[in-house]
């Protein structure tokens, strides 16, 4: 299996334009933020001191969620390409079992997701450090790594389920476009979750995206939140957290630990679905060559 994981990783990292496009969703959110989103939000939260220092890590949190979604999808696209180009049939001739092949794609995708999230984290943090003089807090790094692993796993499973029956690169391209666009909304980056209509909010909560973003934001913004809101009443802070999607409201405000639990539940449910349809999926993707 190591041989196949190594091959899959090389395939991803050798394809420079593929990497670029897998980060497109994240880059769009980043650019939109720099272009006007930050300005809009700063003016609506003008009462809070150091708004910019507060919003920079907020954006990083959302963008990292998008990165997790799109890079794992892009890495799994190799799986679809292999199905279409008979590489899967060829791999089936080796000593690796079909399950082993599937696991290789999964592990590759998790590794890529983590690496790309960390790269994006460093790039954005350094950018804001230079431009906005924000501090680069190394003490939260272990937490960030932890979240990136968890989100990478979640979105790998999510995308694996999504691609269960896809065996054409053409279909994959269409799915990627939809996912790339939707991810920014579902992670609450283009518009904070609290500013959206209730129906939309409810819909978002059926995906792992808002919880994922909330975890990142809690970790990244914690110290700055304490600083900015030290003179404000607790209600203002909790209101800010709710609107900005730092704390998600699901029968009461969710804690960081509960966010983790929710992601794990999502993984369990998605994993179960993958398991249930695996037989049909296998027959379909290996049927006709």
């Amino acid at each position: 299996m190591n041989g196949l994981i190594y091959r899959n990783l090389k395939m991803y990292f050798n394809d420079k334009s593929g990497i670029f496009f897998s980060l497109m969703g994240a880059m769009i959110s980043f650019v939109l933020y720099l272009a006007f989103l930050s300005q809009n939000m700063i003016s609506s939260w003008s009462k809070v001191p150091d708004t910019k220092l507060l919003l920079d890590p907020w954006l990083i949190g959302g963008t990292l969620t998008i990165t997790a979604i799109t890079t794992t999808l892009s890495s799994l696209s190799l799986m679809v390409k292999d199905r279409e180009s008979k590489v899967l049939a060829d791999l089936n001739l080796t000593d690796i079992s079909y399950l082993g092949i599937q696991f290789s794609y999964l592990i590759t995708s998790v590794i890529i997701g983590v690496i790309m999230q960390l790269i994006m984290y460093f790039v954005m943090s350094i950018y804001f450090m230079i431009v906005d003089n924000s501090t680069f807090n190394l003490s939260i790094l272990p937490q960030i790594v932890g979240i990136s692993v968890l989100s990478s796993f979640t979105w790998t499973l999510f995308n694996l389920l999504l691609l269960s029956f896809v065996k054409k690169v053409d279909t994959l391209g269409k799915i990627s476009t939809i996912i790339g666009t939707a991810s920014g909304f579902f992670a609450g980056v283009y518009m904070p979750i609290g500013t959206l209509p209730t129906t939309m909010q409810r819909l978002m909560k059926f995906t792992p995206a808002p919880y994922n973003a909330a975890m990142y934001r809690s970790a990244l913004m914690n110290s700055q939140l304490n600083k900015s809101f030290k003179d404000s009443p607790a209600l203002t802070l909790s209101e800010f957290k709710k609107i900005m999607g730092i704390n998600i409201n699901l029968h009461g405000t969710l804690t960081f630990q509960q966010d983790i639990m929710i992601l794990i539940v999502f993984m369990a449910i998605i994993g179960m679905c993958i398991f249930l349809i695996s037989g049909i999926s296998r027959r379909l993707v290996t049927s006709k060559v």
Partner: protein
């Protein structure tokens, strides 16, 4: 010794029968050709023999064992009609990662030498010429030293030099290791050197035998006489003696002649007809 045997092999796709009741016997060390026009069912047959698709009915046995298991897959190497190697990776990565996917030890150094891969070892697969790519494909199929090599139209689109070079290597391997080869092709001259030929058309085997026997059965020798007055006459003859006799009788009045024994081309055309499909 029988290596691979397929009995009443049939494959139906939803609306058409691709392969209809085919029987094949492959002996160890033989070079067997599956010859047929485009769409005859050659690739479907190969895909069933390699276990990539399951036959609708029929049985395939490898030295008396079923071909669905792991053990069989370890014994075969396949070169697909369209390459399945990774364009983005170097030749080295393509071969080495493949080697890691097998648990048994591999013999890569020998392959590199035999197939002349040293000079292109670090190049990207996508940057290679058609012939170089094919050599890498074959090397990869041979990585785990299979006993049986399937070649699905390996030389389509290759020039004569490359084709000859590839066949030189394959013949050397056959002599050195007793490798058995099953080839599908529509290049008739490739089948000419085969030990045994199956001619496939519209999903069935329409003829099978050694090349010599096929030529005897399905072709005639052709004698063309060019007369001094410009007239040309074509006569089919049974053997060279008959030809010599005709030539002696006509020696005064002919300006030239051509004697051509039946080829595998004639066998093929006689059996599969002349229309394009």
């Amino acid at each position: 010794m029988k290596l691979l045997q397929a009995t009443s092999l049939t494959k139906k796709f939803s609306d058409k029968i691709a392969v209809n009741n085919i029987n094949l016997t492959i002996n160890k060390g033989d070079f067997v050709a599956l010859l047929g026009p485009n769409g005859a069912g050659k690739s479907t047959t190969i895909n069933m023999l390699t276990g990539i698709i399951q036959p609708t009915s029929g049985k395939i046995e490898y030295v008396g064992h079923a071909t669905t298991g792991h053990a069989y897959r370890n014994k075969i190497g396949v070169v697909f009609q369209s390459s399945v190697l990774d364009n983005n990776l170097s030749v080295k990565d393509n071969i080495m990662t493949r080697a890691k996917m097998y648990s048994k030890s591999t013999q890569i150094q020998i392959l590199i030498k035999k197939l002349g891969l040293e000079s292109i070892w670090k190049q990207k697969y996508s940057s290679l010429s058609g012939g170089q790519k094919r050599r890498v494909d074959i090397a990869r199929a041979l990585v785990q030293s299979p006993e049986l090599l399937f070649l699905d139209e390996p030389s389509t689109g290759l020039d004569i030099q490359t084709r000859t070079a590839i066949w030189d290597v394959l013949n050397q391997l056959r002599q050195a290791t007793g490798l058995t080869i099953i080839l599908t092709t529509h290049y008739l001259e490739e089948a000419q050197t085969a030990d045994y030929v199956y001619i496939v058309d519209q999903g069935t085997i329409i003829a099978e035998d050694t090349v010599i026997e096929l030529q005897k059965k399905y072709t005639q020798n052709l004698l063309t006489l060019n007369y001094q007055n410009g007239e040309v006459k074509k006569i089919t003859v049974n053997d060279k003696n008959q030809a010599i006799k005709i030539l002696t009788e006509n020696s005064k009045i002919i300006s030239d002649f051509e004697y051509r024994p039946g080829t595998i081309d004639d066998v093929f055309m006689n059996l599969t007809g002349k229309e394009i499909r």
